[in-house]
């Protein structure tokens, strides 16, 4: 029986569902009620004027914002022009692309952690340019990571223009698709300019866009001036973007998970409506990042079962809507890559893959998203590999039932030397790279290394490799010049002291 397909070669995939179709519909129609009756606050005149001009009610206008109520029919119209499939390419488009739709799964890093764990010393410290480049190099090297985000905020550059430096660092490290962040519209404009240079001009960009933009409205139901500026710019310039609210059940959304899903969907729908009003056909991906507040520490938990459950529910809702989805996995609240990190990441990676989230981000996140870890990233690559084996399922057909082989070997005997085994074992039996399956003597002879030591060694081995630069000198200089011009332009906004390093 063919149940479900992913981009992984499958015949038969185990499925995981957390909502029934009735429940999905109930959540969707509830979100329409919130959008039309409670409304959302938009801190952007261009944004609320656009909605108002097309039938939304604009109320309670203040100096900097308005309450906007969107009737259901506006959502219907918006959904009718929203692309159901979004494709994002790598800087090497012939080698890397993500086709986001339905059950296609792609994994990638998270973004913008203030801190990182130095893989050479084990110290937690502020992230700098070199870390961001190194994480991009890891992403390039790891086969199960399909896209990348900046695992660390560059903090040895000017603070207000760090986004350009981060993009440069990532372009130095990887040719895979990148999901960027931007400080504001100008930061986005500069990075688009950089992408044009990288890919060979605007024409090339329109054929093969090489980044998407991460945009995050603030829960509950608030859309800041920068958020809407970025959204409108993306629509104008055909930049695929992720619109992901990050509500926190019990704190910035209802403590009941259904209520959190309703609110998150309301927040995403506003993004859909505005982008399609600005330019019908604007490509976007909606999130996927919800969790419950930890009621002891008040943190945003990235390792909670509620996060995995909510992400799964949201994935089902987006599939029902036919919108590409942004998922969250490969992350943990642990302070270093340890047993807790592995447990939490395994759980959320497995559920994200089984539900079939499209763009699954935050691989490498520790400490509720405050710290990035190369070990976590490398270990997650293998966890994803194991989960993909499960997704392949158990194809059942005449060849795989192997009655003729069973008959041939009969009672007693063995299958090890049979052609049927020889020809199929590599495909059928998953082989670990970092898990140790030796007996005690073998493990002792190879140095009695713990899993964490082996993972760290793998990180160092990748980072110490000699590599051809991804950018030639001329291109690097052109890209760097954009960063430097931005620094110069915004220097007055900086503090007259070194903030971080």
């Amino acid at each position: 029986m063919q149940v479900k397909k992913t981009n992984y070669l499958v015949n038969n995939t185990p499925t995981f569902e957390v909502l029934s179709e009735e429940e999905i519909e109930a959540i969707y129609y509830a979100a329409l009620t919130v959008l039309s009756e409670t409304g959302v606050r938009i801190y952007n005149k261009e944004g609320y004027d656009l909605a108002g001009a097309h039938g939304a009610t604009v109320e309670d206008v203040t100096d900097d914002s308005a309450l906007v109520k969107i009737p259901p029919e506006m959502v219907d119209i918006a959904l009718s022009t929203l692309p159901r499939k979004v494709v994002i390419y790598g800087a090497d488009p012939s080698k890397y692309k993500m086709e986001l739709f339905k059950n296609q799964i792609y994994f990638g890093a998270g973004s913008d952690t203030p801190f990182t764990i130095d893989p050479y010393t084990g110290d937690r410290r502020r992230a700098v340019y070199k870390d961001v480049k190194n994480f991009a190099r890891l992403a390039e090297a790891l086969p199960n990571l399909d896209f990348h985000m900046s695992l660390g905020i560059v903090q040895d550059s000017a603070v207000g223009t760090y986004d350009r430096w981060q993009y440069l660092a990532m372009l130095e490290g990887t040719n895979k698709p990148i999901n960027i962040t931007a400080v504001d519209k100008d930061g986005l404009k500069d990075q688009l300019e950089m992408a044009y240079i990288r890919i060979g001009g605007e024409k090339e960009w329109l054929k093969t866009p090489i980044f998407s933009l991460y945009i995050e409205p603030v829960s509950p139901l608030s859309h800041s001036v920068e958020v809407i500026d970025k959204l409108l710019f993306c629509a104008d310039h055909r930049i695929p973007f992720v619109y992901t609210p990050c509500p926190l059940a019990g704190a910035t959304s209802p403590t009941t998970l259904a209520g959190t899903a309703v609110q998150a969907l309301t927040e995403s729908l506003l993004g859909i409506v505005l982008s399609q009003l600005r330019r019908p056909g604007s490509p976007m991906i909606i999130g996927g990042l919800m969790s419950a507040m930890d009621m002891r520490t008040a943190i945003y938990s990235y390792g909670s079962p509620e996060m995995a459950l909510l992400s799964a529910a949201y994935t089902q809702i987006t599939k029902w809507l036919g919108v590409p989805e942004y998922e969250t996995a490969g992350c943990s609240d642990a302070k270093m890559y340890d047993e807790q990190a592995a447990m939490e990441a395994t759980m959320n990676i497995a559920s994200a893959a089984l539900i079939g989230g499209n763009m699954i981000h935050d691989v490498g996140y520790l400490e509720q998203g405050l710290t990035s870890s190369a070990e976590m990233m490398v270990a997650a690559d293998e966890i994803i590999d194991m989960v993909k084996r499960i997704l392949k399922g158990i194809p059942v057909n005449d060849d795989t039932k192997a009655l003729h082989v069973i008959n041939e070997i009969g009672p007693g005997g063995h299958y090890l030397a049979h052609d049927h085994t020889f020809e199929r074992f590599k495909d059928g039996i998953w082989q670990p790279k970092l898990m140790d399956r030796q007996n005690f003597e073998g493990w002792e002879a190879s140095g009695s290394k713990t899993h964490r030591q082996r993972v760290n060694e793998k990180v160092i081995e990748i980072l110490d490799r000699d590599e051809e630069p991804k950018l030639d000198e001329k291109m690097y200089k052109e890209l760097k010049r954009i960063c430097e011009l931005a620094d110069e332009k915004y220097k007055d906004e900086e503090l007259d002291l070194d903030m971080f390093v």
Partner: protein, 214 residues
Amino acid sequence: MSEKVFEILSTAILEGDSETSAAITQQGLDEGISAEDLLNNGLLLGMEEVGVRFKAGDMFVPEVLMSAESMASGMTLLRPILADAGVQMAGTIVMGTVKGDLHDIGKNLVSMMCEGAGFEIVNIGFNVAPDEFIKAIKENQPEIIGMSAMLTTTMRSMGHTIKAIEEAGLRDQVKIMVGGAPVDQEFADRIGADGYGANAPASSNLAKQLVGLS
């Protein structure tokens, strides 16, 4: 007689029962119990137990906030009397999320915890520009300014705000505490803040330290 009032009062705080807290505080005052005794032996005793239980993991944030709210409802009645009597109180904190930042929840959490510790809170919201902080200092004469930022870019606003407070000649009048996910002690030191709170309970302890209460 007063022992009974204290017990009901501290239990009301522990259970987060604002109505009882206000009613019993009023009843205590009517019966002639001093405001200072009601504060120390009733309200604060309850909050101390809340602190102990929270630390031990027997109480959770929403429960602590209910307790803080019930503490505040009693304090509303006691504050003017205590002030008239010249009793030293925790004081006032002006609390805001800095310019460019719409993140509200962390700052509100800290506000409620500080309220539970006996402070009067003037919450000036989010996206607060330096001159609005200055205006709030002039209007409210707070002991402490609390600033929150969730983004590294808006962390700069904390530095700009401190500088603006200095330039307005008000820096000596207030203690400044900062917090928020990307903020740490080192950054707080660099911009010349008086303290950094890593989370809401730590921030309310810090506030007490800054006014010399612990």
